[in-house]
């Protein structure tokens, strides 16, 4: 069998694929962050908590309403997105005129509160959530067994990511959104309700986090900590991709998933630091991030 640095190529293919799967979560989450930062200039530290809320929502939908995974995919983003819209209207709105730091502090505080409440209520070990019937089992790809559910995660997140990019960069609605961030007064003068649009955008960004949460529920434990563990990495992804760059966050999300996956083969001890090393290097060479533009 051929080998690369002592690792059989077949095993390497498996690790690449797994990297892509983890990258799907990074991409979905950093996409939401990028949308919110790019269009609202809010550094949304509640994102991890909202991802966790999505997973819990799936758990409640299953155990309280008796509805399965597919319903959750629709209900959780709606419910959590709505909650996001309420947060935007009541708490974030007064902060737009102030420095970024205030929004960051508020969202960070909110995240701690939400996580604290859930930890108190549900403990830290997490709750089980089964893989949907239709997607159990796995297929043999020759070089590895790919669980069907993980294949679904890659496909679904790619569709959502590209769809979002398309809406924002290539449609009229997206053009309004981008214009509204550049010059809200002018866009309002054309008869467009800018505040509502901003609320909806925040709600959408949050809904993306909740969607990622639902997709994560069958793989990881549904636990109050799940977002806190992930959000720091996702922020690094956004910084590497370039704050606010939609395409940047998608590409870096998948890319860093792969890099992290490979680290787990060659030097597993460093697998939770490798992303931050890359972040440091990128910031030194290209401070605006790989896809960002210097303002």
């Amino acid at each position: 069998m051929t080998e690369v640095f002592g690792v059989p190529t077949q095993a390497l293919f498996g690790q690449l694929l797994i990297g892509l799967i983890n990258g799907s979560f990074y991409a979905l989450l950093s996409l939401g962050l990028a949308v919110i930062f790019g269009l609202l200039n809010i550094i949304n530290f509640t994102h991890g908590a909202q991802y966790m809320l999505g997973a819990f929502c799936a758990y409640f939908v299953l155990h309280k309403l008796g509805l399965g995974y597919w319903w959750s995919l629709a209900i959780a983003p709606l419910a959590v997105g709505l909650l996001g819209a309420v947060i935007e209207r009541t708490m974030l709105k007064p902060l737009y005129k102030l420095d970024h730091l205030y929004g960051l502090l508020l969202t960070f505080g909110l995240a701690l509160i939400i996580q604290g409440i859930f930890r108190n209520e549900f403990g830290s070990s997490g709750l089980p959530y089964p893989i949907p019937q239709e997607l159990t089992g796995s297929r043999n790809l020759g070089f590895m067994f790919l669980p069907n559910y993980r294949a679904w995660v890659i496909v679904a997140s790619l569709i959502v990511c590209i769809g979002t990019w398309f809406v924002i960069e290539r449609t009229r609605l997206g053009a309004y959104l981008r214009a509204a961030t550049e010059n809200p007064a002018l866009v309002q003068a054309f008869g467009i309700n800018v505040p509502r649009m901003i609320t909806l955008t925040y709600g959408f960004g949050v809904a993306l986090a909740a969607l990622a949460g639902v997709m994560a529920a069958p793989i990881y434990q549904v636990s109050p900590q799940m977002g806190a563990d992930l959000i720091i990495v996702v922020f690094a992804v956004v910084v590497i991709g370039g704050m606010g760059s939609i395409m940047g966050s998608i590409v870096t999300g998948f890319g860093l998933g792969v890099v992290e996956g490979l680290t787990k083969v060659f030097y597993p001890e460093a697998s939770n630091t490798v992303i931050f090393i890359i972040m440091a290097i990128v910031l030194l060479i290209k401070p605006a991030g790989l896809f960002g533009t210097q303002k």
Binding site: P8, A11, G14, Q15, I18, G19, I21, N22, R119, N120, E121, G123, S124, S125, G126, L127, P128, P130, I131, G137, S138, M144, F145, P147, Y149, R150, I219, Y220, Q221, S223, Q225, M226, D229, L230, G261, K264, V265, P268, E269, S271, N272
Partner: protein, 401 residues
Amino acid sequence: MKVKQLAAAVTLALGAMGAQAQVSDGVIKIGVLNDQSSLYADLAGQGSVVAARMAVEDYGAAKKGMKVEIISADHQNKPDLGSQVARQWYDVDKVDVIVDVPNSGVALAVNQITRDKGKAFLVSGAASADLTGKACSPNTIHWTYDTWMLANGTGNAIVKTGGDSWFFLTADYAFGHALERDTEAVVTKAGGKVLGKVRHPLNTQDFSSFLLQAQSSKAKIIGLANAGGDTTNAIKQAAEFGIVKGGQNLAGLLVFLTDVHGLGLQTAQGLILTETFYWDRTPETRAFAKRFQQANRGIYPTMVHAGVYSSVLHYLKAVEALKGDEGAKVIAKMKETPTEDPLFGKGRVRQDGRKVHPAYLLEVKKPAESKYPYDYYKIRAEIPADQAFRPEKDGGCSLVK
């Protein structure tokens, strides 16, 4: 992240006016130091504070005129933070004894500080057998379980049933290394082989890369030398990748009741594990569990909680007998006095600081066999106290003559 000094200081017994002369400043102050917010928060966390409080109540400290106070803090699994809290507790807050401290990294640090400051340390949550081996101390008792005992229980049972080739997934810090080392020794001694190992960072979310490496090793047994959330995530994801269906088996070397609860019996069924306490064993343990869960958000006691209860009880006994709370003296008294309590039965504390009691080889029930909440285990075997732990002479502890 700021230091979250949990200010839940509970003054329990405002006893008689005349405080005993030799108890430092008249109050016996117990500090519960553990993980209260992350992957070990359910198996220890606030539950350990509840257990300590129950021990003080059951001992009847108030009636005996002893003033006991319990404080707690979150060490966030960081040895530096844990050390800082321990120093502050001993120097400023006049804490006499620190209990619990899951996470061997933090426990080893607190072990040294306690020795330097001449206080007392009762370990329940931490696992590394080094605490009674090369790091043993006249100020420390290791109460509930350790890595040697886990390896000896679960490891031995699995090798005996044909699991003779192993691959380890190991948490990359003091505890994981100790558990891997002790299990490897058991496996090779019984004629088995270790085909490979991979060290993963503490608190890992995704185990698929590591599981894939384990899969390609073709080892019969994948040994999980980790704990808490790491173990549950690994077990859950192993099911997803069809590891067990592919003919390999998982050995959860350290699995707690709360982990099984989090996994659900559907995923956890059939796992073999070793613990020193199971709540549904005797009428006494059941009565304890019932009271405990009412005070602990419905979560049943793990062996760590039981160990905190039992160790605090024995500590108070020694303090009362000595009429003083000086660290090394109390620990010496605790070693002299045989132990007895409703949870672990009769036992003793050895010179190296190891508390010995029987261990139980358990099997997780099938969903259909579970009749009531937390009805999770079948007891497969009892390992007698004198065989459950590492022989005193083998540990390399300097206190053993």
